[in-house]
């Protein structure tokens, strides 16, 4: 008979508690935030942390609370920003997609100071006399950024890191991984960019690199929009003024100015 008591006691308790919980979940049901669910639905869900939040869920919560910017997600790009704007009912800002650029074209064309045979890592190599390249600014090409990139968008070609702009999500994981700090975020829709970081004078630079910017000011003269200028022996672009005509890229004696139109096919100018 006691076995029935045990069964009854436990069964009864289980049933009662189950009912109680079911009732409570109805009673205390926290109405799920519709927007939060919708936001979570469109976010990529890879939890890369590129937005600065602990994951897509946290980012969605911050968006809903109005703390995060709609273009905060580096992975989703413009499409995502558009969707997020639609859900949140805010005006979309254009041209927010970022990519990165390795501001060096040296590689094999930049001379070596010595033959480096240490650990295959940029950070390790700069411990020895600032790295194996004569140029103190340039890419070492040992691929610290390649390993830092979560999207496989970077490869080392001819001793210099190259970005696959279609794969790049602009998360900027590589920016901090470069000991020379020559990977910089640039607008994806930027039309021209300078692929050199050397502030050395022309004569000095000529001795160490066959391609670096000499600061010859040809681009400055050729630009009718006054968007490109030489600062500290290096060309720089004012994206506010640049129209992307590509004249500077054409005239650059070193072919250093990357014409994005050539690189990425038809220009996707917006706004």
């Amino acid at each position: 008979m006691t076995i029935w008591y045990a069964v009854m006691a436990l069964g009864g308790m289980g049933l009662a508690l189950g009912l109680l919980l079911a009732l409570a979940s109805r009673l205390f049901a926290a109405e799920p935030d519709q927007r939060l669910e919708a936001l979570g639905g469109v976010l990529p869900g890879v939890n890369c942390g590129g937005c600065g939040y602990a994951g897509c869920g946290m980012f969605a919560a911050a968006l809903a609370a109005g703390e995060a910017s709609v273009d905060g997600c580096p992975v989703g790009g413009a499409d995502l920003t558009e969707k997020l704007c639609a859900i949140l009912g805010v005006e979309m800002k254009k041209n927010t997609r970022l990519t990165v650029l390795v501001r060096c074209s040296g590689g094999a064309r930049a001379r070596d100071k010595f033959q480096y045979e240490g650990i295959g890592d940029c950070h390790a190599s700069i411990r020895i006399g600032g790295g194996p390249k004569e140029c103190p600014y340039g890419c070492i090409g040992l691929g610290s950024c390649v390993r830092a990139c979560p999207f496989g968008a970077i490869s080392v070609v001819d001793g210099v890191a190259v970005i696959d702009h279609e794969r790049c999500t602009g998360c900027q994981a590589c920016v901090g991984s470069c000991p020379k700090r020559i990977i910089v975020p640039v607008p994806y829709y930027a039309d021209v960019n300078i692929a050199c970081s050397s502030h050395d004078k022309g004569g000095t630079l000529r001795k160490v690199c066959d391609i670096g910017c000499l600061g010859c000011r040809i681009c400055e003269k050729v630009c009718i929009h006054k968007a490109i200028y030489i600062e500290d022996n290096l060309a720089a672009i004012d994206f506010e003024k640049c129209t992307g005509c590509g004249d500077c890229a054409e005239k650059c004696p070193r072919k250093l100015i990357v014409d994005a139109k050539l690189d990425r096919g038809p220009r996707l100018m917006e706004g």
């Binding site: 008591y5 045990a6 006691a9 308790m13 109680l20 919980l21 205390f28 926290a30």
Partner: protein, 195 residues
């Protein structure tokens, strides 16, 4: 209950028969969430809360269901059932009613649902056969004892981060050695009597 009794019980629950370091109950959170003092504090609060609430519920179950039906041997199952349901209920209630508290307790609340320290206090209470007030008080004090041990341990571990010890001891080994030494220290309280 007299003041004497209260002090004796506090001493017993917190020092002499400390849940973690003497009875070796609740070792999992003791090792798991003792890396930082603030998470340890969150866990401690959750444990004190759940222990107190659970002992109240299990006392009622023991007294009004298990004993009258003569099925005290089903204690373990019944208690786990009640504690799990109770914590779930409390969690739902907090989420709706006191979201701030719900957030601060966070993941620790569901984590300790099936913790042996919580079940342990319920079973020790049932074995002692004390009254309702006594059981709840004992559970609360045991929770305080757990919190005391956890906070001690976590502050030691935080300082250990900067200490130099052999590489082989890095991480859990040194934590286990520390826990052992701490437990050894607590055995010093055995036989402590004031009255």
């Amino acid at each position: 209950m007299t003041w004497q009794g209260l002090i004796t019980m506090s001493l017993g629950a917190i020092l002499i028969e400390n849940f973690v370091l003497v009875r070796f109950l609740g070792i999992c959170p003791f090792l798991g969430v003792s890396k930082k003092t603030d998470t340890a504090l969150g866990m401690s609060m959750a444990v004190i809360f759940v222990m107190t609430a659970a002992s109240a519920a299990t006392w009622a179950v023991q007294e009004y269901i298990l004993i009258p039906l003569g099925v005290e041997y089903m204690q373990t199952v019944a208690f786990i059932l009640v504690i799990a349901a109770l914590v779930q209920l409390v969690e739902m209630f907090l989420q709706k009613a006191v979201p701030a508290l719900y957030k601060s307790l966070g993941i620790y609340l569901p984590l300790i649902t099936t913790n042996c320290a919580v079940l342990g206090v319920a079973i020790i209470n049932a074995d002692n056969g004390g009254g309702f007030f006594e059981s709840v008080l004992f559970a609360f004090l045991s929770g305080v004892g757990f919190a005391f041990a956890l906070l001690l341990f976590s502050s030691i571990r935080q300082r250990l981060e900067f200490a130099e010890y052999p590489e082989a001891f890095e991480g859990f080994p040194i934590a286990l050695v520390t826990a052992g030494l701490l437990a050894l220290a607590f055995t010093g309280f055995t036989g402590l009597k004031i009255f």
